[in-house]
Amino acid sequence: MAEQIRLEARPKYVSIALTSFQQAITYRITTLTNIALTFIWVFIIYYLWKAAFNEKQMIQGFTWDDMRTYVVLAYGINALIGWRISSNMMQTIRTGEILRDLTRPLNYCGSQLSIATGWAIVEGIISLILTIIVGMVFIGIQTPASVSAGLLFVLAVVLGFFTKALIVFSVSLLTFWTLNGVGISWSREAVINILSGTIIPLTMLPGWLQAVANVAPMRGIVNTPILLYLGKVEGWEAAKLLGLSAAWLVAMIFFANWAWQTAFNRVEIQGG
């Protein structure tokens, strides 16, 4: 019946995020499979580290308890923005579907972030469940160092999520020129995985790369949240790291919108 329509209005970007959430639910099996496959990596990395910690009690400030928690969380957080979000963005550009968004009173970057958020709610819930099952039952990860560490962790994950979404968005704009996103996506994932600390903690990177990674925006995606969770940084240090994440997020908002304006002004929209 027509009367069933919701009558109370919602803010536009909230409405887009919730619609995207609904769309993501229809793909729950695919989403579940994708994230579950990611967790195969968790086991591989887990056994590698296990072997390494057979020799030593402590590696670069990490105990074995810290390390296995790190491995599980790193993949769990990184799964919040999966391949689908970036391939969605690229596809709208490649097929000219972007026209749909451009004939609306929307900031394109804003609407893409809303769509990403809708997906991430679903992927986040699945990822959280898997992290708990895999982490608690099989690997035995630690709980947050303290209540405040747990809260700061959540805050850092949110900042990191939007930072990664904006990086993915900006890189996806290259599709305007290349019209093919596979190579771009692979390179982007590789850089993010290394500089965010998903593959190994940043303290274990070679000196020069560490210097870059310590101040790069990707750090806020994985490394900062986990350091907070484990209680490796506290007080003033924690505030500085969160400040860095927040500053990068603001910078990325400006950069992404500038990049979008540049791409939009220069390139024709595909198709008739």
């Binding site: 209005a9 887009i16 619609t19 609904q22 929209i269 008739g272």
Partner: protein, 341 residues
């Protein structure tokens, strides 16, 4: 009141020019050469509020580019475009509130969620006040008979059903102008008829200004008293649609197939034909004769032809609006040369 104006509007694109083959690709990689391509060339027109205008032209003529300039998706290279008093490109979002867009070949509904959710989201995107939203929604559901489709995901709709839902989607915010880009492509006859009824209804009830690009002559004939025709980026006709048939309806064509090769048939026959008729040689065995049906009957023309040429077959081409438009597309008619209508 004038609602859309284009003044000396041009859009040029840079297109990469690649030589064929591997060598060409390599050359392009090292030193790319770009060629300028003019999609819209100094176009002038204005559309009054409440008008329905057909914007037609062959593929690649510049129709879509013009629509993109009007919607603010593309920035004009030169000239000016104003829609509801604002420049679309500089105020894309503000402009978006005044317009609705329907693309026949792509949907604006979200693929996997029920139609009703897409419509509600559009109300949110345009911040439509609750009472207005309810009114518009009820009206569109009623007129387009959407009730059975509302809870179906867009991917499960037939093309005709999808078009009805897309029309509702483009009108949820009660726009002043509706751009329709090939809206009836692929639709069956009855769905087309309903589509046209609906646009007429919206025109009558809301004073909707419509700009329609279509290859379907029926759409134009029924919906648009005015037609703008564009070719190679330039406007070649802007005026009443009925005028087109009136101006060119007198021309008839006789297509002749000759039984022997007669390369000079056209020049040979032109002596015996009346002055208002002209013959063109298409091949050694084919001839097209055009004449003014007000001055001669086709019988007289055929008689003239039959006495001096070895005719194998003859056919007379009708002058429907469709054939006139086709001729204009193919460049065998020109508005400028025909002033004797």
């Amino acid at each position: 009141m004038t609602i859309i104006t284009a003044t000396d509007l041009s859009k040029r694109f840079k297109r990469a020019r690649k030589d064929p083959g591997f060598k060409g690709a390599l050359k392009h990689l090292v030193k790319p050469v770009f060629k300028e391509f003019t999609a819209v060339d100094s176009v002038d027109f204005s559309i009054e509020e409440g008008e329905s205008v057909a914007y037609v032209g062959p593929n690649g003529a510049g129709k879509s580019t013009t629509v993109k300039l009007l919607t603010g998706i593309l920035v004009p290279t030169s000239g000016e475009v104003t829609v509801c008093g604002i420049h679309p490109f500089e105020n894309r979002q503000e402009n978006a509130r005044n317009i609705g867009v329907v693309f026949g070949q792509r949907t604006q509904l979200w693929w996997d969620i029920p139609v009703i959710e897409s419509l509600r989201m559009l109300g949110d995107i345009y911040s439509v006040p609750t009472d207005q939203f309810k009114r518009t929604f009820d009206e569109l559901v009623d007129v387009l008979e959407l009730t059975p489709l509302l809870n179906v995901p867009a991917r499960q709709l037939s093309l005709g059903q999808r078009m009805r839902c897309d029309l509702a989607a483009s009108l949820m915010h009660d726009p002043k102008i509706l751009y329709l880009d090939e809206p009836t492509i692929g639709l069956d006859v009855s769905v087309k008829a309903r589509f046209r009824e609906f646009i007429k209804y919206m025109h009558k009830e809301r004073g909707l200004t419509a700009m329609l690009t279509s290859h379907d002559i029926g759409d134009i004939q029924e919906l648009c008293p005015r037609m703008i025709m564009i070719d190679k980026g330039q406007i070649i006709y802007d005026g009443a649609f009925a005028e087109v048939t009136r101006r060119f309806g007198w021309e008839q064509k006789v297509l002749v197939t000759l039984s022997d090769d007669t390369p000079a048939a056209a020049s040979a026959i032109s002596v015996s034909l009346p002055a208002h008729a002209s013959a063109a040689q298409d091949s050694p065995t084919a001839l097209t004769v055009r004449f003014d049906s007000r001055l001669s009957t086709s019988g007289e023309i055929i008689r003239d032809l039959a006495t001096s040429l070895p005719i194998a077959d003859i056919s007379i081409e009708e002058t429907s609006a469709e054939s006139i438009i086709r001729n204009l597309y193919e460049g065998s008619l020109s508005f400028s040369e025909s002033t004797n209508g």
